[in-house]
């Protein structure tokens, strides 16, 4: 037991001596939370439109006004040449173009149904789809209003009925991205700090020969492993608490659920990432190899965690693969506790998966570690 204490003390001394590293561990995550907390939104705003008005009548000007006054659109200009419109889309100057045909007003009055074209840059499919929806909506409302306000067209009016939705967003009424993104960021930062520090740390000791020196001492391999796990778990828990305090101070987002429960879940998660780190260290000879493997694992974990892309949308096989991703469970758990205040009884499957994952990884890591040094 005393030996472990000495190992822990040594590890902390090394961590606190490396000032560059300390800055990265404690300051960079806070900057990331501050900057990235605001970043995510799939909301579609500021759609840049260019308008071509071939008609130039009161009716067409009225339609243009609808777009100019809509908060989703930003009119960047008018264009008389039709071929220039696609150039505007190609160069990214505009996301969407509206073409009001010649004789627009006359054809409406004569009930000849003029064609209004909406040209949209479809590269970002989601953005394009929503932008198209907004534009269509404006045109719909325009024609309804025209029908009801213009008496000689009025005979259509009584036939139009619409169902509209009144959405209510629970747990996050303004659809702010911060409450959604912040728990995810915490999880990722925790993953980076714990997994990388252990794997690189152990391989570094291998490279410089201190690991060999430790192995000729009567120390047991489980003591060595614990000597790595304890300091980094403590470090992880400290970082996560600082991050939560920071988030509360800056964004005013507090943990809805139990803080103790949150720390408990974090600890389970840390155990699995540390296990992973140790495992990686046993299969790599140099820091470079450890780094590549840890990095690859991390990117897989992040992109397949459901943080940015909902898992339900993924193909079946990949959905199954994500079941092996501890970050997936931890992000769900963090988000639930943070935003909904969900208690442990509704998070039992996730918690159990995380425990199972942590236990397996950790045991595998210790077995490999012992084999490696034995």
């Amino acid at each position: 037991m005393r030996q472990i204490l000495y190992l822990v003390q040594k590890e902390f001394r090394q961590i606190f001596r490396d000032k560059a590293m300390l800055r990265i561990i404690f300051i960079v995550p806070l900057i990331q939370i501050l900057v990235l907390g605001n970043a995510i939104t799939t909301d579609v705003k500021n759609i840049k439109i260019v308008i071509q008005d071939q008609d130039k009548t009161p009716y067409s000007r009225e339609l243009i006004l609808q777009f100019v006054h809509c908060k989703y659109f930003k009119t960047i200009g008018f264009e008389d040449n039709y071929t220039n419109l696609s150039d505007c889309l190609a160069s990214g100057k505009a996301n969407l173009a509206i073409v009001i045909p010649k004789h627009f007003q006359r054809h409406i009055v004569l009930n000849k149904k003029p064609d209004v074209q909406i040209l949209v840059d479809g590269v970002d499919g989601n953005y394009a789809g929503v932008a198209l929806g907004y534009a269509t909506d404006i045109l719909q409302k325009y024609q309804e209003r025209l029908i009801s306000s213009t008496p000689y067209l009025g005979f259509y009016a009584k036939n139009i009925h619409r169902v509209e939705k009144a959405p209510m967003f629970w747990y996050n009424p303004n659809l702010e991205s911060k409450p959604y993104i912040v728990p995810g960021l915490i999880a990722i930062l925790l993953l980076i700090i714990t997994m990388f520090l252990t794997s690189m740390g152990i391989v570094r000791e291998k490279e410089i020969g201190t690991l060999e020196q430790l192995m000729v001492t009567p120390i047991r391999s489980y003591q060595l492993v614990l000597g790595k796990v304890i300091p980094f778990s403590i470090l992880g828990i400290v970082v996560i608490n600082i991050a939560m305090g920071f988030i509360y101070l800056i964004f005013g987002i507090a943990v809805k659920g139990s803080l103790l429960f949150m720390v408990f879940e974090s600890l389970i998660f840390i155990i699995s990432t540390l296990g992973l780190g140790i495992f990686i260290s046993t299969i790599s000879e140099t820091q470079q190899q450890a780094l590549f493997m840890a990095w690859f694992t991390m990117i897989c974990f992040i992109l397949l965690s459901g943080f940015f892309f909902p898992i339900a949308n993924m193909p079946y096989v990949i959905q199954k693969i994500t079941l092996l991703n501890p970050l997936r469970y931890f992000i769900i758990i963090l988000r639930e506790i943070y935003l909904k205040g969900t208690s442990i009884k509704d998070l039992i499957p996730e918690t159990l998966s995380l425990v199972a994952f942590g236990a397996c990884l950790f045991i595998a890591a210790i077995i490999r570690f012992r084999k490696k040094i034995g």
């Binding site: 005393r2 030996q3 204490l5 000495y6 190992l7 003390q9 040594k10 001394r13 090394q14 001596r17 490396d18 410089i208 020969g209 201190t210 060999e212 020196q213 430790l214 192995m215 000729v216 001492t217 009567p218 120390i219 047991r220 034995g374």
Partner: protein
């Protein structure tokens, strides 16, 4: 086992795949002896020494170190041996004092023992003024002496030194050997590998390894007279050329 034997090796072998690094070596080292292990690079010295201090399991053969079987009692062996490798292996980012404290703690010394030992060591090595410096700022020769001292913190009766003076200037090397003699005079057994032939002359007994086998063993004087050479260097070259 006789009481005055510190290391007893019989037919010890180690294979790596089809490569035979150490091929059935046998020898004995007496207590308090400075035993030299000579050989070109790749002759199997380091493999042999790693087996003796419990870092590697032998493929076949038997060996006893300080009375313990290396196959079955490796944890006892680790308690009763000291090891210092050719690579400097203290933590460069810890202070001198902290390195001593750390290794003392790992070997299970009490706080008081660690404090006493640290004081003693620092004064012996004339490092009192440097105790709060980072280890990486020490000159190479001092690092080596510090590494040796930390390997001796737990007072082991048998000490393995694997090319301890690699990369060190001649003056530091002489100082280092002075310490080795001092330790040997305290009754400790020293097992040292080297490829500096002048160092070989300092040893009480020598064995010369070649391609995993021990091809010659004896005191420096015996070896020189047997091959009729004036220095161990010449003996070594003669043996190497026979191949």
């Amino acid at each position: 086992m006789e009481n005055d034997i510190a290391v007893k090796v019989s037919k010890l072998s180690r294979h790596f795949g089809s490569f035979v690094a150490v091929d059935e070596i046998s020898f004995e080292v007496k207590k308090g002896e400075i035993f030299g292990f000579l050989g070109a690079n790749g002759a199997g010295k380091t493999t042999a020494i790693k087996m003796l201090c419990g870092l590697l399991k032998p493929t076949s053969g038997e060996a006893y170190v300080a009375g313990f079987n290396i196959k079955t009692e490796s944890s006892n062996i680790k308690k009763h041996t000291g090891y210092m490798s050719q690579k400097f292996s203290l933590y460069e980012d810890l202070k001198v004092k902290e390195n001593i404290e750390f290794y003392g703690g790992i070997y299970g010394l009490s706080r008081k023992e660690i404090l006493n030992k640290t004081k003693l060591l620092l004064s012996e090595l004339h490092l009192e003024n440097m105790q709060n410096s980072l280890t990486k700022t020490l000159p190479m020769g001092w690092k080596q002496r510090l590494a040796l001292s930390t390997a001796l913190l737990h007072d082991p009766p048998v000490i393995f030194l694997d090319e301890p003076t690699g990369g060190v200037d001649p003056v530091s090397r002489r100082n280092f050997w002075r310490i080795i003699y001092k330790i040997a005079n305290l009754g400790k057994t020293i097992f040292v590998t080297t490829h500096y032939m002048d160092e070989a002359e300092y040893c009480k007994r020598l064995s010369i390894m070649h391609k995993g086998k021990i091809i010659e063993i004896g005191t420096p004087a015996d070896l020189k007279s047997k091959y009729n050479k004036s220095s161990i260097q010449d003996v070594f070259v003669e043996l190497a050329d026979r191949d």
